[in-house]
Structure formats: structure tokens, C-alpha cells
Symmetry: C2
Subunit: 231 residues, 2 copies
DNA sequence: TGATGGATTTCGACG
DNA sequence: CGTCGAAGTCCATCA
């Protein structure tokens, strides 16, 4: 990995065109040739970048560019598309290279898949007497997150989201349309379960006879068997 | 901005729980206190990070940690939530600090808004005889990207996407349902225009009587007035 | 290898 | 300040 702090300007052309006026920035060149241009603010997203696979070529500035104070020109060309990033470097304030080796990677716990696990374990959150039929119940248009039966034996389809937006309601509606055509299952009720449900999504869901269920991850995690946790 | 290259491990707890085993990585501390942990590969996204507003506290390791070789512990606490990032540093290979100043920011050209402008200018792409009614035609559930009339005077509603996914078809369907209730406009045809249309979206659109139109940005940009371009 | 859907999404616009 | 939709989205999973 190469780190360069320099005054620079940049031009990206590809899926869009984006220009970066001259300023002092951090340039990171990773082992795979990818380049990140970071400012001293914002979030984790660089101002500009090139994703691998790509190649970096460093060359001398043209005479015209040299007169503007440019000392190096970086051309980063994507290997499989016309995406290209051109960086003009003026003063270089810092430069260093480091051997990092390969990274063992990240271990995650607590994403939507985990919410689904927990709700399947704690299916009574849907109401007393509910039993799990199965997770990822397959249909022609994709799997339903959870299929269950309520106390009276009728079918319940559950769509789980971390953030309950309107598109999740659309998705569940499509599943319900399909499931209700199956005489073995019909009538099927819908439940939209999420850690957070947007007002518009709630309104649309209730409008379509779909119940909403707010999931409390901390509580659910607390109630689950701690031996199944990753760490 | 502070740059540190060090052997480190990290633990993030907040919206999820994520663990990073020990390895050599780049740590970036931005002026606003935010922290990025980058490996020497992947994309522009860090392995782990903390977004501003947050505060970084550096402290000595506990006795137990010191015995494991830990030399520093960084605790990055989000200001408004319980999100927290804990980094244990072992050997530090590099450390430097740089004053970057504020960044003038990025200038973009060629996003969805631009596609909409170009299609409005070149409305005949919908077919001979089409005329523009207006862009961002307001409805109760949000603005329709483009409203036009075809050669015979009947109304056409256009939804524009860069990438034509299934949700765009759903969106246009909702608009059409609504617009078709207006006797002044009905019957309204739908056109789904995008630089790329996913097969499922195409099938669903045609199933609902919605036409699809593939947009070629380069050609459209070539046909437009070059003086209106940003650069 | 391409399609699909989630994401610690981030980011910008608008009400 | 929330809400909503786009993004050079990235990314893993699955067919």
C-alpha cells in the first residue's frame, strides 16, 4: 500500500463525469492497483476512486501541465470498462509505502439473517400459539422470509427487514398474491416485521391488511441462546 | 488527518456486531474524529469505520491486553448513538499527521437528473410526434419524471432510471393507477426508460402494458447542445 | 458468470 | 430535522 499526501486535482470519466478541483488530499494506492482519494472530512466514501481490477500509470506532466505546477500525472484505467481516473499532483507533502499482507477479513453478527434466525426461534412474537413452518419458504418469485401458522392453523407469511421501507410491503404483497392462489395455504395473512418501520410503509401495509411488527434486536438477542452467538 | 499503519484488531458494536482479527492495516483519523480501517485490497469501503460525529480516545492497554502485546487502545464513540469502535494496536509501523484543510468538493455530471434533461430535450426518442408536457409532473404520491403526449394526443408517463430494476416498474405502476383516475388525462400509457433494463423488470413492465426504452447516454449527450455542459 | 437483495450503506434534495 | 430516492453504489449469495 502506498500513501501519498499531495495537492492534487482529479477527473473521473466513466459511468459519469466528475471533477475534483485542486486541494490537499490523501491518495491511497492499494496492492491491487485501486486508488482512493480522501479528503479530511466526509465519511468513509472517498471523493473519487477507482475500483479493481485496474492499473495505475505514473508519468511526467506535459509541458503545459508543468507550467501549471503539475509534477506527476496518475492515470488509473479500469481493466474491463472505459472508466478512467486522471490525477494531477502538484506539491507532494508525504509519501510512504507499506507491506500489509492479506487481510483475514471481517466477522459479522446481527444483520437481517440474524433477525430472521431470532424470529424463527422466538416465533411466539407473532402472537401466542404461532408455530414455524419454515424459514426461506420457496415460491416462484423467490423465498418468503418466514412461513408460520397461527393458533387457529391458518397461514402467516412474514417479511423481515432491518429498515421497513415501502418496497418491503410491495415485496410481501407479491408473495401474498401468489401464496393465496395455493388452496392448500389460503387464506394467508401477512406480517411485516422490522427494527424500524417508516410511516408510509406502515400506512401502505395496514391499507393492504398486512400487520406490522416492530422487532427489538437487543431484547431478541438477550432472549436467545448465548451459546449460538459468534462471540 | 492522522495516518497510522499498524498491526491491529477491532470490534464494532452498534447496529451490528463485527470483529476484525489481528492484521496489518491502515488507520485513518480524519479531522472530524472519524476513523477508517483499510486493508490492502477490497474496494473503497473500509473493513471497519466510525462515521462522524464521533470522538476518539486513546488510552493505555489494560495489564491483560499489554501481555497480549497491545500497545494502545483506541475507543471511537459515536456522539449520538451507542455505536462504538474499539481498536487494539500492536506494533505501529508508521505514523504521520497532515493538515489538509477543507475540500472544495466534487463536481458531477451525467446522473439521473441529466438523463431526464436530455430525454426532455429529445422527447422524440419516445416516438415521432411526441411532445413534452412537463418534467417532474406533480401527483399526490410524488412527481412523475416526464409527462408527454404522443402524436394522437394521448398522455404518456415516463419513469427514468439509470438502472432499470423491478422497483421502478412498481413506481411507474402506482403513478399510472393514479393518473388514469384523472378523466382529463386518461388513458395514460407508461414508458420505462433506462440506460439498462433488467430482464425481470422488462417482463413485469410488458406484462403490465408498460413499454420499455433503452437510453444511450453517449448518443444523447452527443446530440445535445455542448454549451450547456459543465465541462 | 449474471442476477438478486442487503447495507454499520452514504449522500443530496426537499418539505 | 426527518423522509425519500439515487448511487461510479458495493457486496455476498445463489442460480
Amino acid at each position: 500500500m502506498r500513501l501519498v499526501v499531495a495537492d492534487c486535482s482529479a477527473l473521473y470519466t466513466g459511468r459519469l463525469t466528475a471533477m475534483l478541483p485542486p486541494a490537499t488530499r490523501l491518495l491511497v494506492v492499494k496492492a491491487d492497483g485501486s486508488v482512493l482519494i480522501h479528503s479530511d472530512g466526509g465519511s468513509y466514501k472517498p471523493l473519487n476512486w477507482m475500483s479493481p481490477p485496474c492499473t495505475l500509470a505514473v508519468r511526467e506532466p506535459s509541458e503545459e501541465a508543468a507550467e501549471r505546477g503539475v509534477t506527476q500525472v496518475w492515470t488509473v484505467q479500469h481493466a474491463k470498462s472505459d472508466d478512467r481516473l486522471e490525477v494531477e499532483l502538484f506539491t507532494v507533502h508525504h509519501e510512504s509505502a507499506h507491506d500489509l499482507g492479506i487481510d483475514p477479513g471481517l466477522v459479522k453478527d446481527g444483520v437481517e439473517a440474524h433477525l430472521q434466525e431470532l424470529l424463527a426461534e422466538q416465533i411466539a412474537l407473532l402472537g401466542d400459539g404461532h408455530t414455524l413452518v419454515r424459514r426461506e419458504y420457496p415460491t416462484a418469485i423467490g423465498p418468503v422470509d418466514i412461513l408460520a401458522r397461527d393458533g387457529s392453523g391458518s397461514t402467516v407469511a412474514v417479511e423481515i427487514k432491518r429498515r421497513g421501507d415501502i418496497d418491503g410491503v410491495e415485496q410481501l404483497t407479491r408473495y401474498l398474491d401468489l401464496l393465496n392462489r395455493d388452496p392448500m395455504l389460503a387464506p394467508v395473512r401477512g406480517v411485516y416485521a422490522a427494527q424500524e418501520i417508516k410511516p408510509q410503509a406502515r400506512v401502505l401495509a395496514h391499507d393492504r391488511g398486512i400487520a406490522t411488527l416492530l422487532l427489538d434486536y437487543e431484547t431478541m438477542r438477550g432472549a436467545d441462546d448465548p451459546t449460538t452467538r459468534l462471540f
